[in-house]
């Protein structure tokens, strides 16, 4: 009874709240890091060093007037923020934070579900999230969001191909699609997959930047050209939902990168007994640390690199990343048969 119903519901509640809170504070982290890069202080007024700024922002956005443009497609306009938020949240269902921890005498696995097709599940669920941006662009009945919606759909489809191709080489290495199984395979191999598949990791990281519409690939919301892009006509909490979805997607990409390439909850050098001291740090701490490093790099890149032009973006996707992913797949398959 407890194992089948109470525990999963509890885990879902805890995870949802944790994700939403960390997404809110990601906005603060982003503003602070970019400020430091530009030798500014960033938000300082609300709370010590601006620590309560996200809460002030959330209250402001909730109280703002929620406008629907006069000739917008009302239903689709309401649907679009929901469609972009929900896939980002349900993707967390298969991300393993740790194998299991003992909690009041129960052995609780720190993931909601370990399904046999976990990796494919994440890819397909995030593919649904594309609809949020496209529909927002269409439903606003305004020219800038429509352009952004077209850009977003072309960009996301192109980079999805490269990422999916690259994931196949990881699946060949691990021999399973289950997220827990992939971490276990890295433990058995005694090495993180980033050392065996460096090309695949680079493709995942660049593709992840493009899939989450982050700089330097943030063309769907290029402020200078599109006045904010797909969310130009949105205001109040619906506008905030798009932002929360973007940050939640960033966390998903970082967590997937940490799981596939950096051994998930495994400590560094899992097969070197001399480093037994590292084993005292719980696995989920290692996992969160690795995820955080990726999130930091995401923000760092935004503060450092200028935006790509649209044709450069397409050329990178189709003429560099996809051939590279296919070549990587072929080489991995040949080595897998030979070794």
């Amino acid at each position: 009874m407890i194992e089948t119903y109470v525990l999963p519901v509890l885990k879902i509640l805890v995870l949802l709240n944790a994700v939403l809170v960390s997404v809110t504070f990601m906005t603060l982290l982003e503003r602070k890091v970019i400020a430091w890069v530009q030798v500014r202080l960033g938000p300082m007024r609300v709370g010590p060093h601006g620590a309560l700024q996200p809460i002030a922002d959330a209250i402001k956005l909730l109280l703002k007037e929620d406008i629907t443009p006069a000739r917008a497609d009302r239903w689709v306009f309401t649907l679009a923020p929901i469609v972009s938020m929900v896939p980002a949240l349900i993707a967390f269902a298969v991300i393993p934070f740790d194998r299991d921890v003992t909690f009041f005498g129960y052995r609780v696995p720190l993931f909601i579900a370990d399904i046999n097709v976990g990796l494919l599940y994440i890819v397909s669920v995030t593919a649904i999230g594309v609809y949020g941006i496209i529909l927002a662009g269409y439903a606003s009945n305004s020219k800038f969001p429509l352009l952004a919606g077209l850009r977003a759909s072309a960009q996301l489809i192109s980079y999805e191909i490269a990422i999916t191709m690259m994931l196949v080489s990881i699946v060949i290495m691990a021999g399973t699609l289950s997220m827990v199984g992939i971490v276990d395979a890295q433990y058995r191999a005694g090495v993180w997959y980033v050392f065996l598949q460096p090309v695949a990791f680079v493709i995942l990281f660049i593709g992840g930047l493009a899939e989450t519409n982050r700089a330097p690939f943030d063309l769907p919301e290029a402020e200078q050209e599109l006045t904010g892009g797909f969310h130009t006509e949105y205001s109040g909490m619906r506008f905030a939902l798009f932002f929360l979805a973007e940050y939640a997607n960033m966390i998903v990409v970082s967590a997937v990168a940490a799981t596939l390439f950096f051994g998930g909850w495994l400590r560094p050098f899992p097969n070197v007994p001399a480093l037994w001291l590292l084993g005292y740090v719980p696995g989920w701490v290692w996992f969160l640390l690795k995820t955080f490093v990726f999130l930091y790099i995401f923000i760092w890149i935004r503060a450092t690199l200028p935006r790509y032009r649209y044709d450069q973006l397409m050329r990178l996707g189709w003429k560099v990343l996809i051939p590279l992913a296919i070549a990587n797949l072929v080489v991995t398959a040949i080595l897998k048969v030979l070794l």
């Binding site: 497609d73 494919l120 593919a127």
Partner: protein, 170 residues
């Protein structure tokens, strides 16, 4: 009991969304109902313990093909009704003929499988180890190798054809 309840409500949703796909006035709404339809079909696959098929259904149909539909619909902008109304009588005749053929085909398949209760589908062994993803892989590369390769050749030919059509200087 619970399972049949879920199944019949899903079936109602699938049919309802299917009807809405062809009756909705706005083309983008049609495409959205199609996505909802595909997602419901994916849930049916999950109920049949075919989780690989369910995920592929979402990834390929809802996440890939329909995004392309939406892309095209937004590019050609069908908000204005076409000047010359399409010949609805001829369309409905064609539709009736096609659905009659489809009905005949489906009932033929159903009767054929009902006449042979011990067919491969009914007596498929439970997945021995690993689950159905591994099973599908094994079957594709052993028993169904030739159809699989033929299908991939067909897709390759279609892709080459599409590139040929898109190029200006051939």
């Amino acid at each position: 009991m619970l399972e049949s309840l879920v199944f019949y409500s899903l079936a109602a949703f699938i049919l309802g969304f299917g009807v809405l796909v062809v009756t909705a006035r706005n083309t983008v709404h049609c495409v959205l109902f199609l996505v909802a339809n595909f997602l419901c079909v994916a849930v049916v696959y999950v109920m049949l313990a075919a989780e690989f098929l369910a995920v592929i259904q979402i990834l390929v149909y809802a996440g890939g093909i329909v995004v392309l539909y939406l892309f095209v619909v937004m590019l050609v902008s069908l908000r204005r009704a076409p000047d010359t109304p399409p010949d609805t009588r001829r369309q409905s005749q064609l539709g009736f003929i096609l659905s009659a053929v489809m009905l005949a085909e489906m009932s033929a398949i159903l009767m054929y499988s009902a006449a042979r209760p011990s067919s491969a589908v009914a007596s498929a062994p439970a997945p021995a180890g690993g689950g159905n993803t591994e099973m599908i892989g094994m079957l594709l590369y052993s028993d169904y190798l030739v159809p699989f390769e033929l299908a991939s050749m067909l897709l390759l030919v279609a892709m080459v054809g599409a590139i040929l059509l898109a190029r200006k200087d051939v």
